[in-house]
Amino acid sequence: MKLDPEERWRLIDRVARETVEYGAERSTIGSVLAELTVKPLTGIPFAFAVLYGFWGFFDAFAGFFTDGFFVPLFDDHWLPWIQEAFPLKGSWLYYVLVGDPEAVNSFEALGMLTSGFFVAIGVVLPAIVAFYLVITILEDSGYMPRLAVLVDTVLHKIGLHGFAVVPMILSLGCNVPGVASTRTLETKKQRFMIMILLSVFIPCGAQLGVMLSLIPEYFGYIMIYLVTGFFVFGWVLNKLLPGRSPEIITDVPPLRTPTIANVSRKLWVKVKGFFTNAIPFVLLGVGLVNLLYLGGVISWIANSLEPLFTGWFGIPKETVAPLIAGFLRKDLAVAQLSAIDMSGFQLITSVVIISIYFPCIATFSMIIKEGRKSGGVIRVLGGGLLTLVTVVFLWGGLLHLIGILLGVT
């Protein structure tokens, strides 16, 4: 038997009157802080402070381990040792596993055992740990829904609502859970938009880690360009796509102090996942690109795409190799740019192209899986690819144009 809603509430109110007794609501430090974080006047500066603080932590933590520990370890000890100790110098096996016998830094050696290990463990692992620590604290403190309330107005302008920050923030760790979390958005339009926008414009934690280690001086420009792209194309998609953009309705949970037990448990799950899912892909990526080099495939593709690369994007044709690696891992793709001779502006452009040209394979599979629930795989992929090609040509080309206008190319 079903009750109608009014009656259901009547009965429940009656039960509650009998069994529940409310004491006086007390103001605690927690509840005061909880209110301040959603009031615009105090909440917005607080949000900037939080994000800046976390950013500083990430930078310091990753920098400490990568530059202070892993770079000397790999460059001064591991790299020279394996270059000498590995037999068969000059053979294809040596090239695939060790890479350049003359290389003096682990980014540029390009072998599976040299760059592969260095990028995975020396650069990305510390970045991942730092990033997930930050994201976990954001998750467990109950701050994310508050951030959602604060950014609602801005995201509303592009047909999304505040809760879309949850997939956005999760994507900064890894795009895969980011795409999965789009399920909590109400309409197909919103899910499609945020899925495409985040897989195109939001670099994952691993990629951010490599960028920060390799090209800290350009980091800010690249991020600004990507974020601008997010909003520009979000605005366009919102205008073009049919469908509803409902407004935000979300619970705002109380602030809690994250427990060490839960934070370390989640961190452990992520790190374990990194060892089993990510590191094999990084090594595979390095090996694959090396084999394609040896087989002449890379130079063939590079030569055929040269007009597009140099003419339209203004980047060297050799960038093809990292882009191929990027199908597997974007962090690896950025790392491989280090071995290519190019100007600072070309480096910025290349990193932007790596970010936007295609989602990594893991994200791509997740989009296919979620696409089924968001209007069908064909429609999501078709629409997604169309958007993607447009974005790559326009947003990539525009950057070249900006470079020409600034006179830096």
Binding site: K2, A16, E18, T19, P253, R265, S374
Partner: protein
């Protein structure tokens, strides 16, 4: 036999699930953490139960994909026990969902989770009376510390269906 953990988003379903099955599912303090279901197993009195952590849902009328997953799971299982997890500080709206599920004729039991929060806010709930009125097991729990979980487990075999007509009369005559 399947036990489905259902309830509003962010009430601690995944935390209860981890406690019941020893799993490591993500618990986070925002609504919509779990968007897909996870299965685990637990043994009660030598009997194996399949426990399923379900995405949070506000009512039996789904508003997004995650809620749709939740209701599909409910529909898929034949005669499951539905463990409705309620945030004790928001007991009324939690009961609303519990009622909806009871009205559909499922075997139900209730975990009054976040009991520590309720105590902190000077909220007192007469659990025995509530149990008596509803006619299903009601157990206060604190999923993050594990308090009440063993009582919850002991009560699984007594989860029961509710005759709504009788419940209505009982409540009206209180």
């Amino acid at each position: 036999m399947a036990i489905l953990l259902m309830g509003h988003p962010n009430v601690g379903k995944s935390a209860v699930f981890n406690r019941l099955t020893g799993a490591n599912i993500t618990e986070s303090n925002y609504p919509g953490t779990t968007v897909d279901f996870t299965e685990g197993y637990t043994y009660i009195d030598g009997k194996e139960y399949k426990v399923i952590d379900v995405p949070g849902t506000f009512s039996t009328d789904p508003k997004d994909e995650a809620e749709k997953v939740a209701l599909d799971i409910l529909a898929e299982h034949e005669d499951p026990i539905v463990l409705v997890v309620i945030d004790s500080t928001k007991i009324e709206r939690g009961l609303y969902l519990a009622f909806e599920i009871m009205e559909r004729g499922y075997k139900v039991m209730i975990a009054l989770n976040m009991w520590d929060d309720a105590e902190k806010h000077d909220l007192s709930i007469d659990v025995d009376q509530l149990e008596e009125i509803l006619g299903v097991p009601v157990v206060p729990t604190v999923a993050i510390s594990g308090k009440g979980i063993s009582t919850l487990v002991e009560n699984v075999p007594t989860a029961s269906r509710v005759d709504i007509e009788r419940l209505r009369e009982k409540i009206t005559s209180l």
